[in-house]
Symmetry: C2
Subunit: 351 residues, 2 copies
């Protein structure tokens, strides 16, 4: 065991504060990593606040981890000391079910082990995330960060990036497709970059006229203000895909109506009951599809990093001193970040 | 114009009764058909009662039509007098949009012309359905009935059959797949036959223990009583496809939970808002798909008739004297038919 330093929430009401804790002993297939950067995902806030009632305190959030390899176990073949690597939303799975064998560990039939607030499959200990100085992860759940990528702005690719990249690839988005992206946060702005890089004609749907200029700046070919009925009518039945990154309840029906027949509405943010109710007729009469998608598997997480390097894609980030994590959470709740906070872990030493 | 005889509802409250009406003059691409049989679909009841508020009275229902060709227009190439043919749910479409060009006329971007209560694209007249002695239809919307098929029991293939066949084919159901069929009416019992013929392992989901024996008789490999929590738990995460034929509001979430990751829940009956609300997490966490599907295109409607002939599949029907159509509607509302009424149109002459 090695003593590590991190930032934790001790209860649903407490602010995050420095903590010392023990990282587990490395196993033969483990990579030990010194963390340089960690992105801040909205999910971190949900766990810190115990919004879903499943948090085990203290919780050390963070699942967009970039760092350098400091040691490797005797069975490790793909990594060596000094490599720049990433760790995303999961650190283990059963590795033998049909999902794991397909490289879709996020859908592991026995359940994946989350990077934080998960339960270690060997010793039952609770996993701790990337708001810390080091982490120990089995090499199957580590990815290589291409040299061409800026490590800090690559961090959010490990969650916000893969979450939007995976469904666009799974559903085969290709040149000429018309893709709508709903929501312009950490996920949405990455979705726009990926859809553009895949050759699609991309439209951002935003609720506010005031965000149109910013949406265009993000590379969207078109912007639809979704609160303007005439714009929504003009957009009817014209999209092949809608990438819906909105994490709170919203009316899906006007967006479904924007899909052409055989179009697909992909949910990557919403986890709650659909309210207002979904109109089944909107699916049936046009053979439309409502699909969900969760992050991505390990091969695809490596693929998205390589894709980003090849296409010059990074996340737009605001660097954060870990001392300011609580203020950052407050800003995120107001949507006040373009588009992802990334903690510079050097600031943890001073904290 | 030719005077025809039929059965019509004159208002939402009236019973169906005999009517004389004019069939339109045949055009060069038209096939004139003397109707032998017409299946009775639940949709007929909805239109007769004006449940959807769109009925134009008098309405002559019926879109599962089997008959013999009595005349063909000068441009008709595929049919000749004496052929046994079928007409399903649509009689026209724009014929030039991307959907029509793909043989998916039911999703015509300009809207298909329904077999009854539709508006003729040339003269604006209202279309009348198959509860009548004759019909005039453009050859593109006519299908050949293979000799091997019994014409009477083939009638419901034109709606109940194609509606269940089309999505099973579209989603590529194949040997080894596990398919659940929800609902055991006209659509459900055809879905079971098709899924079995495609090589799937088929489970019928029924709400009532009393229907288990009948479900087995229908060819299901397994039966799950959906009101039994322990049976539903045992079925969790094990199906590749669920074919949901239930036409009234029902809780989709327990069925979604029966899908494995990447599984697809296909709605072919439900047109109303989904209530209780759909749990978005049930889609996202397992990359599941909720899809809709509407009847089938013309090439596929021909395909399903040929498939039925090749596989010895027909609909289980109860022959009906058209005089008893109102009683049949009452029985259908109670689910009291195995599994489709088919009107013997000879009885119309006596009516």
């Amino acid at each position: 065991m090695a003593t590590a330093k991190g930032y934790a929430a001790e209860s649903a009401d407490s602010k995050l504060a420095p903590i010392s804790f023990e990282r587990r002993e490395p196993r033969p297939d483990d990579v030990s990593i010194e963390i340089d950067y960690c992105g801040v995902c909205h999910t971190d806030i949900h766990f810190a606040q115990n919004d879903w009632g499943v948090t085990q305190f203290p919780v050390i959030p963070g699942h967009e981890i970039i760092g350098r390899v400091t040691a490797v176990g005797s069975d490790v073949t793909d990594y060596k000391v000094g490599d720049t690597v990433g760790v995303g939303c999961m650190v283990d799975s059963c590795r033998s079910c049909s999902a794991c064998e397909s490289g879709l560990e996020q859908y592991c039939l026995e359940g994946m082990t989350a990077t934080y607030n998960g339960e270690d499959r060997y010793d039952g200990s609770i996993t701790y995330g990337g708001y810390s100085d080091r982490v120990v992860v089995s090499e199957r759940f580590v990815v290589k960060v291409p040299e061409k990528l800026d490590p800090a702005s690559a961090a959010p690719i490990l969650c916000a990036g893969i979450t939007t990249y995976s469904p666009l690839r799974h559903y085969g988005v290709r040149p000429g497709d018309k893709v709508g992206v709903i929501g312009m946060g950490g996920l949405g702005h990455m979705g726009v970059k990926f859809a553009k890089a895949l050759g699609a004609e991309v439209t951002i749907f935003t609720r506010s006229e005031s965000k149109v200029a910013e949406a265009k700046k993000q590379g969207a070919d078109h912007v639809v203000v979704s609160t303007d009925d005439s714009q929504m009518e003009a957009a009817a039945e014209s999209f092949d895909f809608m990438l819906d990154t909105v994490p709170v309840q919203h009316d899906l029906n006007p967006y479904l109506n924007c899909l052409t027949f055989d179009g697909t509405h992909i949910l990557v943010g919403l986890l709650e009951p659909v309210d207002p109710p979904l109109e089944a007729g909107g699916l049936v009469f046009k053979r439309r599809v409502l699909a969900g998608s969760l992050i991505g598997g390990m091969p695809e997480t490596q693929e998205v990093l390589d894709f980003c390097a090849d296409h010059g894609i990074t996340c737009d980030v605001e660097m954060l001193d870990i001392k300011n994590i609580n203020e950052a959470y407050e800003r995120m709740k107001k949507g006040d970040v373009k588009y992802r906070f990334v903690i510079d872990m050097k600031t943890l030493k001073a904290a």
